[in-house]
């Protein structure tokens, strides 16, 4: 991509118009996953294993099948044969095994059979008629225990090339990277702190449970409506799991009620399709909240050791980390990402990081906002804070002293292009929050955070109408207001008002392939594609104007929504507005559209710095967050209000992760807290207002300078709050969540 077409003065970009789907969403009209109905529709329900690990000896569904309300029962035998491969290469097999158990149930909540019946109640009742005989096996849910020599083996042969000899079969991937000589670096340090940390698994906690409506005929043609972050990946995966051709399955993404990474894969969709194929009727399948917690994709839990050496002046002389992540009964825990992100904010001479991907009897982890990064940041930034405290140094000054900048060799390898970490730290230092006095019992914490961001396959199509309005078809489900951003970018290029542009999330039959709405890629990649598609349309508009004026096309330029003659020999013509050209487009060469299909590379990494004040009740260990400020580099904020929203949302999820959210497994391997009453996400009265500062250090890889903003915001909060708690209560917390019993116990241990 040419980088000489950068733009920095904007008319529409950077303004804050109403979102195009606002009216639908405040009136109840917007259609989410569970809001679809079809003639003749059946309701599905899934039978789930009550055991953490068990061989499925026999499934007898005859009573269910005989019931008059039941129209289909499916088990693993109703899906395609998908080849098994180790590591992440066999991802289709992994997904299939997760969607419907094969020989073994691998976690509490693992699907073992499903029914379709004439009503939702009938389907639920029919599940009780299915008899499953299990041979219960020993289980393991803890990451360290899952790596121990005597741990039950989840599955032999799942490890890929990377795992060193002699490791337990539950260790399925291994990562090691870094540079310099850490031992030499530790020798140079005035103070070395080595400490261990653990984080429990959390759930994305989107309020909308997974839901879909599926139709699949014996002719291999199907329709799928579902709530997803990526309907093309759903299409591809479902086709593979059902043994049909990808293009024969049309997938439409509903409005999506939150995803945060958790809706980047499929869970119930292939099951609904299999039921529909068997019953020959449309099947609607909606998860209960309990199913969402037990059987979708929470984060990994982590166990980590971090060692950092610092000189008296605050220079980090060496840093080393070992990050063990448990990601459920399948490969995929992002130990590699944790390792690569953990030290990424710093300019280090000596750094080494090791990551493990470990299987245990838990649901298959899915992405959750900067997957893997928050845990590592918690461990690393906690140790840095402790070093600052012991050496009497200001935590922002120390981070500034060690901050990565353009040209720094990143801990994960390459050198950084232009990045904005220093700018976020300078903004933090200057922010009134950082110098505001604290009340007794309060503490202030700081943390930096890093995330890569992603480009990915992207297709956008833009069509102009005769009246001069424009429609933009994008393929990335709108998870946080992205249709507004797309319309702003299209408006900027076309020079027509924002309101005259309608952005639609197209179905898989209407547009080329699109990667999932993940990796903070939507505003970056679909945005870039929208800009390019609009420019493609503008080229044709200029050509039509040139033809009408009888001058060469390179003598026409596009300015403020009009074709204007340009250059010394262009001649003197009145500008032709877009609507004037499109009004006659049918007769002057046909419809005018622009499109763009590519895999944009150059997403540009992003950094943030958070400041948080917390108060700890010394008698109960309860923590209140009293003030919070997020400072993050957005590159260029297209719609600043929604950028702020991403910052605030990331911080709020981080607060939940830090203080109260966790997967709690009993000794029996069953999930103890599968409802919102006991899985404690922050409620309105738990949080203060969350201040934001948008730093803009343009990304050289995007025409308007955009960096992804969705994920980085969840990276710093865990450590920032842990550091605030440490300053407020005088105890260093090593385990998340920092729930009141844990803090009170730490206070007692501390005397």
């Amino acid at each position: 991509m040419a980088l000489d077409d950068r733009k920095s003065d904007f008319t529409f970009v950077g303004t804050r118009p109403d979102r195009p789907d606002g009216l639908d969403k405040v009136t109840g009209r917007a259609r989410f996953g569970a809001d679809a109905y079809a003639p003749g529709m059946l309701h599905g329900a899934i039978l789930r294993s009550p055991h953490a690990h068990a061989r499925i000896v026999k499934i007898d569904a005859s009573k269910a099948e005989a019931h008059k309300d039941v129209k289909a029962v499916v088990t693993r035998a109703d899906f395609a044969d998908v080849p098994f491969k180790p590591g992440l290469e066999g991802e289709f097999w992994n997904v299939l095994e997760n969607v419907m158990a094969g020989e073994k149930a691998l976690y509490d909540g693992h699907a073992v059979a499903a029914v379709a019946a004439t009503s939702a109640l009938a389907a639920r009742d029919a599940l009780k008629l299915i008899e499953v005989e299990y041979e219960v096996l020993p289980h393991v849910t803890d990451v360290d225990k899952a790596m121990a020599p005597d741990a039950p083996v989840i599955r032999e042969g799942a490890a890929d090339y990377s795992v060193p000899e002699g490791m337990h079969p539950n260790v399925v991937r291994y990562h090691e990277s870094g540079h310099g000589d850490v031992e030499a670096g530790f020798a140079e340090a005035d103070l070395v702190i080595e400490d261990s940390f653990a984080t429990e698994a959390t759930h994305q906690g989107y309020i909308e449970p997974h839901a879909c409506l599926a139709t699949l005929g014996s002719d291999g043609k199907g329709e799928l409506w579902c709530t997803t972050q990526g309907h093309w990946i759903a299409q591809k995966t479902c086709a593979a799991l059902l043994g049909i051709e990808t293009s024969q399955l049309r997938v439409t993404a509903s409005e999506i009620g939150g995803g945060f990474g958790g809706k980047t894969t499929v869970f119930i969709e292939p099951v609904a399709l299999a039921l529909s194929r068997k019953a020959n009727r449309p099947v609607k399948l909606v998860m209960t909240r309990s199913e969402v917690f037990r059987a979708t994709g929470p984060t990994s839990s982590a166990s980590m050791d971090v060692k950092i050496g610092m000189k008296k002046d605050g220079t980090i002389s060496a840093a080393q980390g070992v990050f063990r992540l448990q990601g459920g009964a399948f490969p995929g825990a992002p130990g590699d990402m944790t390792a690569m992100c953990a030290f990424a904010p710093y300019n280090l001479t000596n750094v080494k990081q090791v990551g493990y991907d470990v299987m245990a009897n838990r649901p298959k982890q899915a992405a959750y906002r900067a997957p893997g990064a928050p845990m590592g940041a918690f461990a690393v930034e906690s140790v840095i804070d402790e070093l600052c405290k012991k050496l009497g140094l200001d935590p922002i000054e120390v981070r500034l002293k060690n901050a990565a900048h353009e040209g720094t060799k990143a801990s994960y390898g390459p050198r950084y292009e232009r990045i904005g970490l220093v700018e976020t730290l300078e903004a933090a230092k200057a922010h009134p929050h950082y110098s505001a006095p604290l009340k007794p019992g309060q503490g202030r914490g700081i943390s930096c955070g890093f995330w890569f961001n992603h480009g990915g396959e992207t297709s956008v199509s833009l069509a102009l109408s005769e009246d001069g309005s424009a429609q933009v078809m994008v393929g990335t489900p709108d998870i946080g207001g992205s249709r507004a951003s797309m319309a702003l970018m299209a408006a900027e290029v076309l020079g027509i008002p924002y309101e005259n542009i309608r952005v639609t999330v197209a179905d898989t039959a209407s547009l080329g392939y699109n990667d999932v709405s993940h990796g903070s890629r939507v505003t970056y990649a679909s945005g870039l594609a929208t800009i390019k598609a609009a420019r493609h349309a503008v080229e044709q508009l200029c050509a039509r104007a040139a033809a009408s004026w009888g001058i060469p096309v390179d003598a026409v330029k596009w300015e403020n929504g009009c074709a204007v003659p340009s250059g010394p020999n262009a001649g003197d013509f009145d500008p032709r507005p877009l609507a004037d050209i499109t009004a006659h487009m049918g007769a002057t060469g046909g419809p005018i559209s622009g499109h763009f299909e590519a895999t944009p590379e150059g997403a540009g990494v992003s950094f943030g710095t958070h400041i948080v004040d917390a108060e700890v009740d010394p008698e109960t260990g309860k923590t209140s967050v009293t003030r919070y400020t997020v400072i993050q580099d957005a590159g260029k904020a297209i719609h600043p209000t929604y950028v702020e929203g991403q910052y605030q949302g990331g911080a709020a999820q981080g607060i939940g992760w830090a203080l109260n959210e966790e997967y709690i497994y009993g000794d029996d391997g069953r999930l103890q807290n599968s409802i919102f009453l006991d899985y404690r996400i922050p409620v309105a009265s738990d949080l203060p207002m969350i201040d934001t500062v948008i730093v803009e250090v343009p990304n050289p890889g995007h025409p308007f300078g955009v960096r992804g903003v969705g994920e980085t915001g969840i990276v710093p909060p865990l450590a920032a709050i842990a550091n605030a708690v440490s300053h407020a209560a005088g105890v260093r917390m090593h385990q998340l969540p920092m729930s009141p019993p844990r803090i009170l116990a730490a206070l007692k241990d501390n005397g």
């Binding site: 109403d18 009136t27 109840g28 989410f32 569970a34 906690g205 409005e255 909240r289 709020a652 949080l687």
Partner: protein, 159 residues
């Protein structure tokens, strides 16, 4: 199991449906009356996405049976706007970007409207506690609370 015939009023319209006694009011609104504005986020009264008012009282429609609606006056998100004129809360939510994904929005609007009808001048703390049963996972509540507080102020000035 025999079904029950229920006559009730939803957003001012007289409606009737047949329901199994196990079906919730939320099931009936969505599956029998095609009013899908109220959402099921949890089914246990913990998320508030199914909030409606029954005889003026804010409740979770997932915690009430369909048969209990007999003779009641029910208001849902679909009834908040006055024809094509949005309620000030609805306008303010759009203006403030008080929604990202929008799944919690119907419940929060119903709950916030109920708050302002009972307490036209809530403190921020009162608004936060009133809405504590309405989970939002996208926004961190900041813009929601701002939208509610600003609407309250505007409504007070207008009256």
């Amino acid at each position: 199991m025999s079904k029950f015939h229920v006559s009730t009023t939803v957003n001012g319209d007289a409606v009737e449906y047949l329901c199994d006694p196990r079906e919730t009011l939320l099931d009936c609104l969505r599956d029998k009356l095609n009013l899908t504005g109220a959402k099921e986020g949890c089914g246990t009264g913990d998320c508030g996405a199914c909030s409606v008012t029954v005889d003026g009282r804010l409740v979770c429609s997932c915690l009430m049976l369909g048969v209990e609606a007999e003779g009641k006056q029910i208001e849902t998100v679909e009834g908040i706007a006055d024809g094509d004129v949005l309620h000030p809360l609805q306008k303010k939510f759009i203006e403030h970007a008080a929604l990202q994904c929008g799944i919690c929005t119907p419940g929060i609007l119903v709950a916030a409207k109920s708050l302002l009808e009972k307490n036209p001048n809530p403190t921020e703390e009162e608004a936060r506690y009133w809405l504590a049963g309405n989970l939002c996972r996208c926004t961190g509540y900041d813009k929601i609370i701002r939208a509610v507080m600003e609407t309250a102020e505007e409504l007070r000035e207008a009256s």
